[in-house]
């Protein structure tokens, strides 16, 4: 079922891209790597009259790290994120998320902005970005705004990006040295879409009390999401007081809070159970990392 032909547009700057989008509005779509959009168009799921190819806008592709933030241009391909030496080790879950997404060939084409804007429930970049307090920069021809990623995912394949907006940058604050984080994914094979993916970050204050806890899951609800009721259970807890009973309670909470569906990759029950197990592993791993830092 091939769809109608489209016109191909090639902006060379962000401003030019925004003007094109303004002109053609919903008849036009921004085209990043295209690995998903091409398929959707071929299958007739998505209709477009104008393809605005962002591939040739150099100002959209970069990885910059300073003492405060990691900034990634939206058109940066995932393999660049996977292998970048720019990225601080405290942000390694960003590279891990990128390295576990699909196949090497896809990672050489697909972009971080595309992965986020597609808003698939299983997007591998989403959980790491969510637990690290990521913000995204959206621009249109009349201005720009920053939005917390927490407020970006609205529903299945739906985001807070307005029709005329282009996501241009992803900015991740560098965690304090008292933070630990991890990314975990369960898929059928190393290249498959996640059955469940998740990330967790835990930050302690100088007295080893947890001051910030974030747990985010993918593929267990219509959007990637944080499980705030589980996070709250760990807030204010001393790292040395995290025992297996407490971890079990938090994991149970996660298993209760997720709303998975049954599909070709896994059943609802399996996803719930895996969510429980991954929570446990993530908290154990982060607790271990934090304990080492308390002792040293």
């Amino acid at each position: 079922m091939k769809k109608n032909n489209f016109e191909y547009l090639r902006p060379l700057t962000i401003a030019e891209a925004c003007d094109m989008k303004e002109k053609y509005a919903e008849k036009a779509k921004y085209w990043a790597g295209g690995t998903d959009l091409l398929l959707q168009w071929q299958q007739g799921v998505v209709n477009l009259d104008y393809c605005i190819d962002l591939t040739f806008i150099p100002e959209l592709s970069y990885i910059r790290q300073d003492s405060e933030n990691l900034s990634i241009g939206a058109l940066t391909i995932l393999s660049s994120i996977e292998t970048s030496s720019e990225i601080d080790s405290s942000l390694s879950i960003i590279s891990e998320g990128a390295s576990e997404l699909a196949t090497p060939q896809i990672r050489n084409t697909a972009t971080i902005g595309g992965n986020v804007c597609r808003a698939a429930p299983s997007a591998d970049m989403a959980p790491p970005l969510l637990v690290l307090g990521t913000e995204v920069k959206l621009v249109n021809s009349s201005g720009e705004r920053w939005l917390a990623l927490d407020e970006f995912f609205l529903g299945l394949n739906k985001t807070a990006r307005e029709e005329n907006e282009l996501l241009v940058e992803i900015r991740i604050p560098v965690p304090s040295s008292n933070a630990a984080s991890c990314f975990l994914k369960v898929g059928r094979t190393v290249v498959d879409i996640a059955i469940v993916n998740m990330a967790a970050s835990m930050t302690m204050d100088d007295n080893a009390i947890l001051s910030d806890v974030r747990i985010a899951f993918g593929a267990v609800a219509p959007t990637p999401l944080r499980i705030k009721l589980a996070e709250e259970m760990l807030l204010g807890v001393n790292v040395s007081a995290i025992d297996s009973a407490m971890i079990d309670k938090v994991s149970d909470k996660v298993a209760n809070e997720v709303k998975p569906i049954t599909d070709v990759r896994g059943t609802m029950e399996y996803r719930r159970e895996i969510s429980r197990v991954l929570t446990k592993r993530a908290i154990e791993r982060n607790t271990q990392a934090l304990t080492k830092r308390v002792l040293s």
């Binding site: 016109e7 191909y8 790597g33 690995t35 398929l39 393809c51 393999s79 060939q105 896809i106 050489n108």
Partner: protein, 160 residues
């Protein structure tokens, strides 16, 4: 129809295409590069893998227009029947294929791997080839072939 200019196997080629034409179709149907294999057509199997500026990508998953200004290498750009590339020689010697349908893509991914990390372990080789499905299941022989190719390329490097 719009103009398309591609650099394929070190030659500049010009075409008139429909904007939605994918890279795999242009290479295969217009240039007759039948080493670009299209199997699943949806990014799962890796048969259509080519090198874009030296990196493996799926020719079925991108518009031909996206490849403009970049160097495209297909299996036809590696060796000839009489003068095989060392990776091709290694695959022949170690029987790194059965039907051969997935082989062009695998050899191109191997080229990128050996250029970035020539001393890859078998598990690193397997990970770097994770985007290729070999329906004959020749995987163990494929990994042996990659190791043999690494040896050959290292030796030829030493001789220089």
């Amino acid at each position: 129809m719009i103009k398309l200019q591609l650099m394929v196997n070190e030659k500049t080629q010009e075409f008139e295409i429909e904007p939605h034409e994918i890279l795999a179709d242009v290479l295969k149907k217009r240039l007759g590069l039948i080493g670009v294999r299209v199997s699943c057509g949806e990014g799962e199997c890796g048969a259509c893998t080519i090198l874009l500026d030296g990196k493996p990508v799926l020719a079925c998953m991108m518009l031909a227009k996206q490849a403009e200004g970049k160097e495209i290498t297909t299996i036809e750009g590696l060796g000839t029947h009489d003068n095989l590339h060392p990776i091709q020689e290694a695959f022949v010697e170690k029987h790194g294929f059965q039907c051969g349908f997935c082989t062009p893509g695998i050899i191109l991914s191997t080229k990128n791997l050996l250029e970035t990390k020539a001393d890859s372990t078998p598990s690193e080789i397997a990970m770097s080839l994770s985007g290729h499905i070999c329906r004959c299941g020749a995987y163990p022989k494929i990994i042996e072939s990659v190791q043999e190719a690494a040896n050959k390329m290292e030796n030829s490097h030493d001789e220089k």
